[in-house]
Subunit: 189 residues, 2 copies
């Protein structure tokens, strides 16, 4: 009988990162991850399609980002709506206590081609989702696409800076700065 | 004894596309591809790391694109250098007689998750290579990154429009138009 498991995706992701750091991504099985998290293997597969996916809990970022874009004032320009989205990520997801996990996650992905491929694909999917969210606000196809590429770039730069062990600022501050830089660079091309 | 095989990568890519269209990507082996091209399996692996790679002859696009960026006048802005790169692709690689192959390639990739992942990763690698080429010309890290993202977007839009069965214009014309549109959208954000 399936029990309700509080916060299972989070626990599985945490367990996976521990195991990947201890014995490597290749030497860790889904069963290992489930056992470390104190959960059944079937619980893993209720939440993730395969082992790679445990590192890409896309709803964790995509949901709050798109919700904040949708909730931006009607008159806000695409990049302004995106800036609000990044700010929401800092407040609700990429909180200071999550930074250690982000640093470890980065190291695992960088070391594995399959994971870098999956990450690249997720980046493409996220950008496509941002395009749709901006079009829903009335932006033209091209304006939405260009803004989404620049917003995704600001997110990537912010995430890299924030998950640098030497970083001290909150994600929201880092993201606001990155967005300003990207905007300035785009307008001066 | 290994013979010199004229134009082997091109012949293998052509044979692969024929077979993928006839029997599907999953049902085609590397041996099938080599045999259809009249080449040895070992010749395939001299040119491509795996079956997926035969659809991504990256040097075919990356080499001419980066060479044209590097050959742009010293004073050319990053997006101007990129526009020259896209023009070179139209002249030397994405020629009218290659369009049928591009249309068939698109259909194979769209139908397969593994291939879409590899394509996303190739897109990320290509963008990174463009960033380095622009930095070599003296652009700052951020200016090079923003220009490379916009240039890669213009390339993607151009390639999609050009490989649309209904397209009639040459790649160079389509790319110049797409670059103008992307530039205008970026400066009006």
């Amino acid at each position: 009988m399936a029990r309700w498991e509080p916060n299972a995706p989070e626990r599985l992701a945490q367990a996976a990162l521990e195991l990947f750091a201890e014995r490597g991504y290749e030497n860790t099985t889904v069963l290992d991850i489930a056992q470390r998290a104190g959960l059944a293997k079937s619980t893993f597969f209720r939440h993730f399609q395969d082992k790679r996916e445990v590192l890409f809990r896309e709803d964790a970022l995509t949901g709050p980002l798109l919700a904040a874009i949708a909730a931006s004032p009607a008159g806000a320009a695409p990049l302004e709506a995106l800036a609000r989205g990044l700010d929401a990520l800092g407040l609700h997801v990429l909180k200071p206590e999550r930074r250690d996990m982000a640093i470890r996650r980065r190291a695992v992905i960088d070391a594995n081609l399959d994971l870098r491929e999956r990450e690249a694909l997720k980046g493409v999917s996220l950008t496509a989702a941002i395009v749709r969210a901006l079009e829903d606000r009335g932006a033209s196809d091209l304006a939405a696409t260009v803004a989404a590429e620049l917003g995704a770039l600001a997110l990537q730069i912010s995430y890299e800076r924030w998950s640098d062990p030497a970083a001290t600022a909150d994600f929201g501050e880092i993201a606001a700065q990155a967005m300003d830089e990207v905007r300035a660079a785009a307008s001066s091309l």
